[in-house]
């Protein structure tokens, strides 16, 4: 049970590369915080600093009310699932999971109960007597998870703990983790590449890019109110569509003009753009594929004729419950998630409409959000 607080934490590796740059973050007690970001952006490094496996180059790291910069891992009261699993190769699955408890001096009966319970949850009961080398990748990953689960530390650190599991098992483990979080009421710091995991598990999500925090917010806010183009593009799948556009003023209001198309902006966006002095300037707009409508849906959604774009479908992708259409707006490849009943196929020309109310507009130079 502990809060974690980063105060201007920096990390520079021996080779002189600054991997984490001025990290400010307050994680509340019992929070489930999720770190996301492109590969190599410093997520594991951040986790390893919390664990005490990596020195902090400058700044302060607090766990609870203790400054932990110089406290060794074993005194930090943490459990960690490594990205690479890091199982003890000479011990059986049972001993791997029991190891921390044995060191803590728990009684045999307590250890046995906890290990068996965790093994049951993780579906590892038949493998308790095996050594890690006789397990599949997914089974090893579950052992790594089990090794952390049997403990009751102040902070859980999980580095992509479900990355190697099949879809079904992953969903199952995801809900088990949510349970575990509720049951143990401890702080979780979780790294993942999986949007669903991030969105469903996190009380808050930290979006990182090249060692810098872009935004820390609830999953809903990240989705609806990204602070800049990076976050907007990172959250959501398929990713948001972007295009440059000119803000043009006509007698009946402001328009976004791009690639021969022109869409009228609503009052709210007009005001934001006018206040920011963007009239007559280039901006970037973004629209999520789920906010793009096709042909008859355009009419159904009550979107005006003027907002319609004509384009040839470059690719048709059926995902079961949805269909994704790919098309070009000028040079930019755009996507739309549409009704699976659509007759449109690759090569057809069809009409799309953007839900202007849900359009995001960004400054062209700084890529900071002007309005949502």
């Amino acid at each position: 049970m502990a809060s974690i607080s980063f105060k201007n934490v920096r990390k520079t590796y021996d080779n002189g590369v600054e991997v984490v740059k001025g990290f400010h973050l307050d994680v509340a007690d019992k929070e489930f915080i999720v770190l996301v970001g492109a590969s190599g952006c410093g997520k594991s490094t951040t986790l390893r600093m919390i664990a005490g496996l990596e020195d902090i180059t400058s700044g302060e790291l607090w766990i609870g009310d203790k400054l932990v910069n110089n406290i060794p891992p074993k005194d930090r009261d943490i459990a960690m699932v490594f990205q690479s699993y890091a199982l003890y190769p000479h011990m059986t699955v049972y001993d791997n999971m029991a190891f921390a408890l044995k060191l803590a001096g728990e009684s045999k009966a307590v250890i046995d109960e906890k290990v068996k319970e965790a093994a049951e949850i993780l579906g590892l009961t038949p493998y308790l007597d095996r050594k890690p080398k006789a397990l599949s990748g997914g089974q090893r990953q579950r052992v790594a998870l089990g090794r952390a689960m049997v403990r009751k530390p102040a902070v859980f650190l999980l580095d992509e703990p479900l990355s190697n599991l099949d879809a079904k098992l992953r969903t199952e483990m995801r809900s088990q983790l949510a349970h575990l979080h509720k049951k143990l009421e401890t702080t979780f710091v979780y790294v993942t590449h999986d949007q669903t995991e991030a969105m469903t598990l996190g009380t808050r999500i930290v979006v990182m890019n090249a060692g810098i925090i872009q935004q820390v917010d609830t999953p809903r806010n990240l989705y609806t109110k990204p602070v800049n183009k990076f976050v907007a593009g990172f959250i959501g799948s398929p990713t948001m569509n972007f295009s440059n556009a000119l803000v043009a003023e006509k007698e009946d209001g402001l328009y976004l003009e791009f690639e021969g198309h022109s869409v009228k902006l609503n009052a709210e966006k007009t005001k934001a753009l006018k206040d920011g002095g963007y009239v007559g300037k280039e901006v970037i707009f973004g629209i999520r594929p789920e906010d793009v409508y096709e042909d008859e849906d355009v009419v159904k959604a009550g979107l005006e004729e003027k907002r319609v774009i004509e384009a040839e479908v470059d690719m048709y992708e059926l995902l079961g419950s949805d269909v994704i259409l790919y098309y070009y707006v000028g040079e930019n490849k755009f996507t739309a998630i549409v009704n699976p009943a659509t007759p449109t196929r690759t090569g057809d020309t069809t009409h799309f409409a953007f839900d202007v109310d849900r359009m995001h507009i960004f400054d062209k130079d700084t890529e900071v959000t002007i309005c949502h």
Binding site: A79, L87, Y88, P89, G137
Partner: protein, 280 residues
């Protein structure tokens, strides 16, 4: 291509066969002669199998075991070998753990020093060594292991450090997070993973210490303490008479422990104990 390969294999088999005959022949010769009567052991008949009249049974073996000081020497040899190899395995593996895991000037320097010690021939330092050993009173069978530790450390540290580099660091990190102190990490995690290297190094060092003649001769008080190789030397020199039979029996007897160690250890030298620890 395939044909070429099998031709190469044949040549190699031949070369290795010749080599093993060359290696085996002194031992086989000694084995034969240890069963011959004393008078039948001569240069001319060295390669003959014992015949009905020259066969001596295990008489020489009994003589060897009963000869003065044999059991005592055996004890000393065992004591020295076990303490030395034990010390080398423990200290050198710990040292190479430090060298591989703690980067810096000290560990680099140490590593170079160990590597360098392997190229200095023993003969270069043996006289100063024997004097120093005398002064420090390291001339007893129960503390000569300190000297063996020094001479064995180069190779052992080198081998341990080489293997240690291939152990994923995360495994040790995981143990620290699980609550291990550095010593616990060493004994509960690192040492078990080092087992195959321990066996290899152990066999090499045991063979060397067990068979070593020069160092104990120089260091130990020869009148009081004799190791087996020193005792064999003594067989030949006593009473001005060469007692070849018991000597050869003695040699055969002293080969046995080392062969047993090798056979026992061999099956533990398996590659990839770290298998399964990390992804991929």
């Amino acid at each position: 291509m395939k044909k070429q390969k099998s031709a190469v294999d044949t040549v190699w088999s031949f070369v290795l066969a010749v080599a093993s005959v060359l290696y085996m022949y002194p031992i086989v010769m000694i084995l034969f002669n240890s069963f011959k009567q004393e008078r039948a052991i001569s240069t001319g008949t060295a390669f003959q199998l014992p015949t009905a009249e020259t066969f001596a049974g295990i008489e020489h073996y009994i003589n060897a075991v009963n000869s003065k000081g044999f059991l005592q020497s055996l004890g000393y040899s065992f004591l020295i070998t076990i303490t030395s190899v034990g010390a080398i395995l423990l200290f050198c593996s710990m040292c190479s753990w430090y060298i591989t895991r703690v980067k810096g000037f000290v560990s680099n320097g140490l590593y170079m020093l160990f590597a360098f010690s392997m190229v200095v021939p023993f003969q270069m330092v043996m006289f100063t060594l024997s004097q120093t050993a005398d002064q420090l009173k390291l001339n007893k069978p129960w503390n000569i292991w300190i000297i063996y530790l020094g001479f064995g450390a180069g190779l052992a540290t080198f081998m341990f450090a080489g293997f240690m580099k291939s152990i994923p660091l995360e495994v040790e990190e995981a143990s620290m997070i699980d609550g291990c102190s550095p010593l616990q990490t060493y004994f509960m995690i690192v040492m078990p993973m080092l087992k195959p290297t321990m066996v290899s190094v152990g066999i090499l060092e045991a063979m060397w210490v067990w068979n070593d003649y020069l160092l104990p001769t120089l260091v130990l008080d020869i009148k009081k303490y004799k190791t087996i190789p020193m005792l064999i030397q003594y067989f030949r020199g006593s009473y001005g008479r060469v007692e070849m039979g018991p000597m050869m029996a003695c040699i055969m007897l002293t080969i046995i422990p080392i062969v047993i160690i090798y056979l026992l250890g061999q099956k533990h030298i398996i590659k990839g104990v770290a298998a399964g620890a990390v992804k991929g």
